[in-house]
Structures are given as structure tokens and as C-alpha cells.
Amino acid sequence: METTLKSFIFVWALFASALSHAAAPYAFGVLNQRSLQATASYWNPILSYVSARSGVPLELHIGRTANETTDRIVAGKLDFAFTNHLFTPKRAALGWRVLARQDSRGIRGQIVVREDSPARSLQDLAGKTVAFPNPYAFVGYYVPYDALLRAGVKVVPLFAGNQEAAMGQLMAGQVAAAGVNHQLMADFALRNGLKYRVLSESEPYFDLAVMASPRVSQADSEKVRQAFAGMADDPEGRRVLDAAARTIG
């Protein structure tokens, strides 16, 4: 994660300070990939840094679930968002623009089982319960479930709420397999000592992006972008990133 943040490019960073004013902070929504606490622990330092660096006050807003967060975004309750749920044609019409994206080789959707699972192929999951983060998760649901459909395997989906919740179900043996973001799965398995086997993996897709609502001025957006983008090169930003990374292992 730390390395991925290095690739953030904050195109709006330089404008942030110029456009900053004492107005109410912008609501910065983060797609639920982990628990609320983990998310807040990870994002609050970053948003504080960005707010200070850009001069654009940002305030973390999270929904109870990824769906709720996305619903809030869609409902126009948020000003900034870190998500990939707006790339559907319908949501693209909302006018949200991408400010920055993590500098990574993309993310892949995977269907994974525990290493001790007898399932060796997707067919082995037929009729079994498979956990997914939420119905809007691109690499966590759309892509894996597409693979299952293409393989003609019917499973019983179980939406855990976010990526790590689905992984937790798998780890606890509550489900036979899970649809996951390959990057998040690798981090989770490394952090929790979970050994797993990938039954299916998709091609790579763009990772989640920092996006701005159309009502956010260009200046503020730019300031924010620049702050994000220069964070990896700023010692303070680097320290914040390291600290944020430690909160998630």
C-alpha cells in the first residue's frame, strides 16, 4: 500500500492553499474496503496532511457499508470520494472527475479458497456459499461473479460489507470461497497468516481513484490533487503515509 501511495499525483495540490478559506470542510468519502475504524485510522492522517498542505479542509465521511458510501456519493452528500464505483455509465453522468489514482499495476478480481479447501476449480464451488464485499464491488463482485457465470457455476452469494469482511468470512470457514481484490487479499493474508489458493483471477483493472464532485471548484480540486500527488515526495507526507500504512499492517 505504501508503494502504491507513492504513485499518487496530486494535481490540485498547488491550488489548495490559494483557494482555501474558512468555509466548512469538504466531505471526503472513502469506499469501504476495510472496517470503519481501519478506514478512519488510515485516512484521517492523510486527509489532515492534505488539508494542511492544500489549504482545502477535508473531512472523512464513510457510510456504514460500501453501498451506503456509494449511495451517499450518488446522492451528492459528498464532495470528494476515493472509489471506483462511479465508472459505470449511469454514475459517470454525475460529473465526478478523477483527480488522482494510485500508482500501481492495477487491481485484479480473484476467487480464492483456503489452502486446505478441497475446491480445486470454480466447478468445485457449485452450490457453495461464496462471500463478496458488496453488490457494487467491481473487482470484488462484478469481475469474480462474471467469471463464475462464464464458468457456469452457480453459487450462493453472501455480501460481507467490504473486502476484508468477506476475507474474514473465508478465513473463519463460514464460506467456501470469496471474491476479492487481489491486492487487498494479499495484504490481508500476509497480515493474518492466511494461506489461500486462487481459483480464478481476472485481468488487471484501474485501481480506486480520488474523485471530486462537480460542485467542488477547480481550484480546490487542484489544490487537493497537488497535495495528494506531492505527498510521496514530501518528508512529512512520507511520514504520514508510513504511519497510515502501519495502521493496516
Binding site: 485510522s41 465521511h61 464513510i62
Partner: protein, 794 residues
């Protein structure tokens, strides 16, 4: 011995009290040791619970805080406050405050407990910070009531447990003590029974008793056995003591000595009846008084008070005997001569317990002693000093004369013709004469510093003290004149007495009293020889006195010869002129052998020996030796006549001596006869008569020697039971030529024969004399003509 004050609490009370106190103390200590940390732990726990509750609440609302779901936060807080009965929970940000309260629980423990524990509301507060961003402050307050209640209940249970334990322990201990002390109660009962006099009481030994109690009972019983035997012994000794005490009481009350007993301070405790009699105080009356109050003692002669000997004995812790001549002043004021002994009474450890004074009435004894003392120095007939007293006074006077320039004159007085009174009027008359004459002499020297003593018979001694010889002679002269004028009348007879004085003055040259007496006696003898009624002062150079002195020289010679056994026995035969007289007859004579071996005739030493009292020794020596001779010479069957001096005749023990000597041998006493001179016999008429009669009873006969030389009273001849008369040689010598002598001898012979007595003529020296005597019919003759004296055969 003071009795120790008993403790207020019994042993049971003490033990139970101690246990109670210990349990109470342990309870208190346990409360302190366990309770305080417990309370601290409870309060810490309460605080911890508050922290936990805070943490839980924080966890519960954390997501809601992130979601900014304030209604949900309020709901959660409220719900939690009610559910867990939090006193307060509040969530505060800069913009809002959410809080909820519940009222404190009503506690059911006492308020003092709450005050004691000092319970406090546990509060916890924390800031909700996520990712370095503060989301507000959360605080909770916990009600301590529940924890306090639990603490109270715990304390209550603990107290109940302690109380229960205490009660159980007390009950158990009480039971154990009752069981254990039962033996002690039995011991107490036994001890009280013994105290009440039941010495047979013993502590009962019960099986199951604790060993300590059993051992104690055994020890007690052993002690009781010992006490029982001791008491029995004490009772036995007590009864014996009572008997002894009664015996002593009776003894003390019945003894003739007075006994007074005091305590250690000298206060009277007891008087026996004799002491009551002598002091005049009753025992009850005297009790508690000091001895000096009851017994006032004074010196007999001076009347001075004497310290009471018992008080002295008590103060000195020694036996004190009172000096003689002590008088007791009795209660009625009269006095009594007493002697006493005072002794302290000591206990076994030597401490003085009291004193005892034993005294007795010495009046009679002291009177008797005085009388004896008087009699020892006085002549019982005349009341004058006796010979011994005079000798003592002479000794004292001699000492004074030898050591001081003082004058003493001693006068020997011998009455002339006193024997005539005795002979004619009897001894009663003689005694009366002496008494009256004594009164005259005593009156004559009355008031003077002189001593008059009766030395014996009609002899007196007169000592002039601090008087020179001339003055003494004046006194003597006056005394002689006074006696010369004295006429003694007895019945129809009147006697006129003469008196001879021998005077000598004491001087430092005198060696002893005997010498003084001898000088005075010599002078008196000479005065008497001058015809009587004369005064002769002793002069060493006076010829007559020199002669007498020569006689006295013989005393020493004779004494030495006697001690050196230089006397020898001689015998001279008496020839029987008539046939049929039977055997030979001898007169035993004594001769002295001089230091040169020459025989000394008795005419030289016998007068001195007789005059100075040695004759009895000669007599006894002769008796012993003649008797021994007769016993050892049975071949000699002759009869022997032994001479007895006047002194031996006057000695009443002579008869016993002779009889005792006879009893030692085995010859016939009838072979023995004694010759006594007429003069000696008459001088000791009574004793002589008794001696003759006594020895006559053993067949021993007597002859009257020198008959005719003395007074030759026919009365004597009649009275003396002699067997023969020995006619004095003066009458025999020359009787053939002297008609008077012949007539006298004839008369004597005739008289003797008429009286049934034999006659012996001595000193026959010529044939003519012998012829006359034969013609006269004299029975025996003796003289140089017929037989000279010669020694006994060996």
C-alpha cells in the same frame, strides 16, 4: 502471713476472656489486613470497571462517531447507562453534548459503613481519537453502591463467620475447661475437707483425666498423706507436750522455788504460787508489769536498789546470778532475803523469747549460814571467839606486825584450880563458872579493840590490837585482879579462882601463829608453875622459859625421828609375886634412836611430846607395832601392857582405832592391857571411862598407872573400871626404910584388893623393897632389880 488477694477472674474467665480478646484482635487484624486492601481493590476494581465501561461505550459508539450518527450515539449511551446503571455517561464535542444519567441506587448497608469505606463515584474519561483526529470526549461515572453493598455483605459474612467461630471456640473451650478443671474442683474440695479437719480426704482419681490434673492429684494425695502423717505425729507430740506441759505446770507450781517468766521485753507473763507468795503479787495482778515493778531488790546491808537481774540477763543475753545479801521488798513492804538466777529463754534459732527468774526464800538458810559462821568462830559455851578464830586473828595480826609498825600483844590465860570445881561440883558447875567468868572478862575488855577467845577447857586467849606491851600488862593486871575478886558460888560451895597469864608481844620475827601460841603458852606454863595467879611475859632469855623452849626443841627432833622410823619398842617384864598369875607380863616401852644411833630415854622427849600433842601418835605407833608383833610371833604368849597418854584418852576415836587394829590380827585381845596415868584418867574421866568399858568388853584390861602421884581420889578409883593399880615408884622406892611410904603403899594395896583390883609396884630396885612388897602381898613387881627394859625379840 498476709493472704494474697485473690484474682477477680477465674481461670475459665481468664482463658475465655483471652480467647475472646484474641479472636477479637484477630478479627480486627484480619479486617485491617484483609479489609483495607480489599476496599482498595474494590475501589480499584470500580475504577477499572469505569475504565472498561468507558472503553466499551467508546467501542460501541466509535463507528457511530465516525458515521456521525448522533441519534445512534445518544441511543447507545442512554441504553448503556440504563442497562449497566451508570450514574452518568456523556459524549461531548465542541458542538454538542450528549449525556445520560441514572439515579444512584438506594443502598441497604448502614451509612456508617459508607462513611467508613469512604466510597467514591468511579469516573473515567477519554478522548475519542481515530487516526489522529479527535471526535470528542467520552466520560462515564459508575455508581459504587453495588460494590459497597457487596463489600458490606462480605464484611457481614466475615463478621458472622468470626462471631460463629468465636462462639464455637468459646463453647468448645468452655467444655474443655469444664472437663479439665473438674479435677481442680475436686482438689479444692479435698483441700477444704483437709482444712476442715478431715485429713483422710483425698482427691479422687478419675480415668480420662488430663495427665497434668492426674499428676497434680497424685502429688496432692501424696502431700495429703504426708500431711496426715505429720498431723498425726504433731497430735502425738502435742499430746505429749500437753502432758509435759501439765507436768511442768504442776512441777513449777509445786516446787519450792519461786518462778517468774517474762516475755522478751521483760514484761511478766507468769508467776508460780511460790513466786506469788514471796512477792505478794498474784500472777494475774503481775501480768504485763515490768519485773522491777513486782520485784524491788535492795542490798541487804545498804538498802541500795539493785538492777533487776532478769532485765540484765535479757539485755546481756546471759545467765545472771544475783549476789548474796539481796533482799526482796514485797508488795506489803516487808523484805525477804532471796537468791535468784535469771536466764534468757531462747528459741531453737537462738532468738530470745523471754526470760525466767528463779528465786527462793533464803531467810532461813542465810540465818543458818550466819549461825554456822558464828558457830565456826565462836565457842558455843561462852560465846567468845574459839581457837580457830583466834588463830586467824593472830595470823592477821602477825601479818600486820610484819608489814606495819603496829603493836599486838597476845595473852594466854589459864584458870587455876578450875578442875577442882569440875571435880567437886560437876561439869555443869564448871560450865556455869566459865560462862560467868567469861562475862566478867568480856566486860572488862568491852569496847576495846581486843579479842577474847576460849582456846579450850579452861584456857583463854586475849589479843590486844594496837596496844603496847605495858598497856597490855595493865589490862592483864586489872583482869587478874578482877578475876581474883570473883567468887563463884555453886549450891553451898564458894570457889575462888586464880588465873595464870602468859604474855608475848608479836613482832616481825615471829614465823607463824604456832610460835606465838607456844611462847604465850610457855610463859603461862611458867606462871602456872610459879603457883598460879601470876603474869609471865615471854622472854627468850629467861632460864625457865629456856627450859621449856628446850622441850619445844625436842618437838622437831621427835618429829624427824618419827618420820625416819627411829623409834623402837622395848619391854620390861612385870614379875608376878604370887603363883598362878599365868605366863609372863611385860610393859611396853618406847625408845628413840638418835641420829647417831644412840638410844635416847623417854624421859627426855616424852614430856615435850605429851605437852605438844605428839603423844597420841606415839600411842598409835606402839599399838600398831605391838599388835603386828603379836600376830607375827605366835610363839610369844606373854601379856603386854601398853601406855596410853592423856590425849589419846580424851580422843573419842581411840577405842575405835584399837578395836579396828585388833580386828586386823588374830591374837587374843585378852593378852593386851593398857596403862593410863591417874592424872590423865582424871582429866578425861568420861571418855576414859567409856574407853575402858568399851575395851573391857573385848577382854582388854586397864591399869591405873602412877597411882598416888596425883589426887588419888577414891571416887575416881570407884568410878574407873580398871583391873589393877600401879603404885607410883616414888612410894615404892625406899619403902623398906620409910614407914610412911610403907603405910601408904599398904593402904593402896589394901584398897585395891578390897576393890578387887590387882596391885603392881614399879621401880623396885632393892631386895629390901622386894621383900617388903612380897610381905605386903603385892601382886606384881617391876623394876631394875628384877628386869631391865630391853628390845623386843626380832
Amino acid at each position: 502471713m498476709s493472704e494474697a488477694r485473690p484474682a477477680r477472674f477465674s481461670l475459665s474467665s481468664r482463658i475465655l476472656g483471652t480467647i475472646f480478646a484474641l479472636v477479637g484482635l484477630m478479627y480486627g487484624v484480619a479486617l485491617a489486613v484483609l479489609g483495607v486492601p480489599l476496599v482498595e481493590r474494590v475501589q480499584a476494581q470500580l475504577q477499572l470497571n469505569a475504565e472498561r465501561e468507558l472503553s466499551a461505550l467508546r467501542t460501541a459508539i466509535q463507528d457511530q462517531v465516525l458515521l456521525r450518527d448522533y441519534p445512534a450515539i445518544e441511543q447507545t449511551i442512554r441504553s448503556r447507562v440504563e442497562r449497566f446503571h451508570l450514574l452518568e455517561a456523556r459524549y461531548a464535542t465542541q458542538k454538542l453534548l450528549i449525556e445520560a444519567h441514572t439515579p444512584p441506587r438506594v443502598h441497604d448497608y448502614p451509612a456508617w459503613f459508607d462513611s467508613l469505606i469512604d466510597s467514591r463515584v468511579a469516573r473515567a474519561q477519554a478522548e475519542i481519537e481515530i487516526g489522529g483526529l479527535s471526535y470528542g470526549t467520552l466520560s462515564v461515572a459508575l455508581d459504587p453502591a453495588q460494590a459497597m453493598r457487596e463489600l458490606w455483605l462480605m464484611g457481614l459474612r466475615f463478621t458472622l463467620l468470626a462471631l460463629g467461630s468465636l462462639v464455637m471456640t468459646m463453647v468448645l473451650m468452655r467444655w474443655v475447661l469444664n472437663v479439665s478443671l473438674r479435677g481442680l474442683y475436686e482438689l479444692r474440695q479435698a483441700a477444704r475437707a483437709i482444712e476442715a479437719g478431715n485429713f483422710a480426704a483425698r482427691a479422687r482419681l478419675v480415668s480420662g483425666s488430663p495427665p497434668e490434673v492426674r499428676e497434680t492429684k497424685l502429688a496432692f494425695n501424696h502431700m495429703a498423706d504426708h500431711v496426715d502423717s505429720l498431723v498425726a505425729a504433731l497430735e502425738h507430740e502435742h499430746s505429749e507436750l500437753m502432758v509435759e506441759k501439765e507436768r511442768l505446770r504442776i512441777t513449777i507450781e509445786s516446787i519450792g522455788d519461786a518462778v517468774l517468766v517474762t516475755d522478751a521485753q521483760g514484761r511478766i507473763e507468769f508467776l508460780n504460787p511460790k513466786a506469788e507468795e514471796l512477792t505478794g503479787f498474784a500472777s494475774e495482778q503481775a501480768r504485763g508489769k515490768r519485773v522491777s515493778e513486782v520485784m524491788s531488790l535492795i542490798v541487804e546491808r545498804t538498802g541500795e536498789a539493785i538492777a533487776n537481774p532478769l532485765e540484765t540477763a535479757l539485755s546481756r543475753d546471759a545467765v545472771v546470778e544475783l549476789d548474796t545479801h539481796t533482799l526482796l521488798r514485797r508488795h506489803d513492804g516487808s523484805t525477804l532475803a532471796i537468791s535468784d538466777t535469771a536466764s534468757p529463754i531462747r528459741s531453737a534459732d537462738g532468738r530470745i523469747q523471754g526470760g525466767v527468774l528463779v528465786f527462793k526464800d533464803e531467810s532461813e538458810r542465810r540465818h543458818l549460814l550466819q549461825r554456822l559462821a558464828w558457830q565456826a568462830e565462836r565457842d558455843h559455851l561462852t560465846g567468845l571467839w574459839n581457837r580457830r578464830a583466834m588463830e586467824n586473828k593472830l595470823a592477821a595480826a602477825l601479818y600486820s606486825a610484819q608489814h606495819a609498825p603496829r603493836h599486838f600483844v597476845f595473852c594466854y590465860i589459864d584458870l587455876d584450880r578450875f578442875k577442882l570445881v569440875n571435880d567437886t561440883c560437876g561439869h555443869r558447875a564448871g560450865d556455869a563458872l566459865l560462862q560467868r567468868l567469861t562475862v566478867i572478862m568480856a566486860r572488862r575488855i568491852e569496847g576495846e579493840n581486843h579479842y577474847l577467845a576460849r582456846l579450850g577447857g579452861d584456857e583463854f586467849g586475849l589479843l590486844f590490837v594496837d596496844v603496847a606491851l605495858p598497856e597490855a600488862l595493865n589490862h592483864v593486871q586489872a583482869l587478874r585482879d578482877e578475876i581474883g575478886r570473883f567468887r563463884f558460888e555453886w549450891e553451898d560451895k564458894v570457889f575462888r579462882l586464880g588465873v595464870s597469864f602468859g604474855v608475848t608481844e608479836l613482832h616481825a620475827g615471829h614465823t607463824n601463829v604456832g610460835e606465838i601460841l607456844a611462847q604465850a603458852d610457855t610463859a603461862c606454863y611458867h606462871a602456872k608453875s610459879l603457883g598460879g595467879n601470876a603474869i609471865q611475859v615471854y622472854e627468850k632469855t629467861h632460864p625457865a622459859l629456856q627450859k621449856i623452849n628446850d622441850e619445844m626443841q625436842w618437838i622437831a627432833v621427835v618429829t624427824r625421828a618419827f618420820e625416819a622410823h627411829r623409834f623402837v619398842l622395848f619391854r620390861q617384864e612385870k614379875i608376878a609375886l604370887k603363883k598362878g598369875a599365868g605366863g609372863q607380863h611385860y610393859e611396853v616401852l618406847i625408845r628413840m634412836r638418835g641420829e647417831d644411833g644412840a638410844i635416847i630415854s623417854p624421859g627426855e622427849f616424852l614430856p615435850a611430846a605429851e605437852r605438844y600433842g605428839l603423844a597420841p601418835s606415839f600411842d598409835r605407833w606402839v599399838v600398831r607395832n605391838v599388835f603386828a608383833y603379836l600376830d607375827t610371833h605366835p610363839e610369844d604368849t606373854a601379856c603386854y601392857a601398853l601406855n596410853l597418854s592423856g590425849r589419846s584418852l580424851s580422843d573419842a576415836s581411840t577405842a575405835d582405832f584399837i578395836l579396828e587394829e585388833i580386828s586386823r590380827y588374830h591374837f587374843d585381845p585378852a593378852r593386851i592391857s593398857f596403862e593410863v596415868t591417874e592424872t590423865a584418867a582424871i582429866d578425861n574421866l568420861d571418855t576414859c571411862e567409856r574407853l575402858i568399858l568399851t575395851l573391857n568388853s573385848r577382854g582388854i584390861l586397864f591399869a591405873l598407872d602412877d597411882f598416888g602421884r596425883g589426887q588419888s581420889s577414891f571416887g575416881y578409883l570407884k568410878r574407873l573400871p580398871v583391873a589393877s593399880l600401879k603404885i607410883d615408884g616414888d612410894f615404892v622406892r625406899g619403902l623398906d626404910a620409910d614407914r610412911e611410904k610403907l603405910a601408904i603403899v599398904k593402904a593402896m594395896h589394901t584398897l585395891a584388893h578390897e576393890l578387887g583390883k590387882l596391885t603392881i609396884a614399879e621401880q623396885v630396885e632393892t631386895e629390901a623393897e622386894l621383900i617388903c612388897l612380897k610381905a605386903m602381898g603385892v601382886d606384881f613387881v617391876q623394876g631394875y632389880l628384877l628386869s631391865r627394859p630391853g628390845p623386843f625379840p626380832a
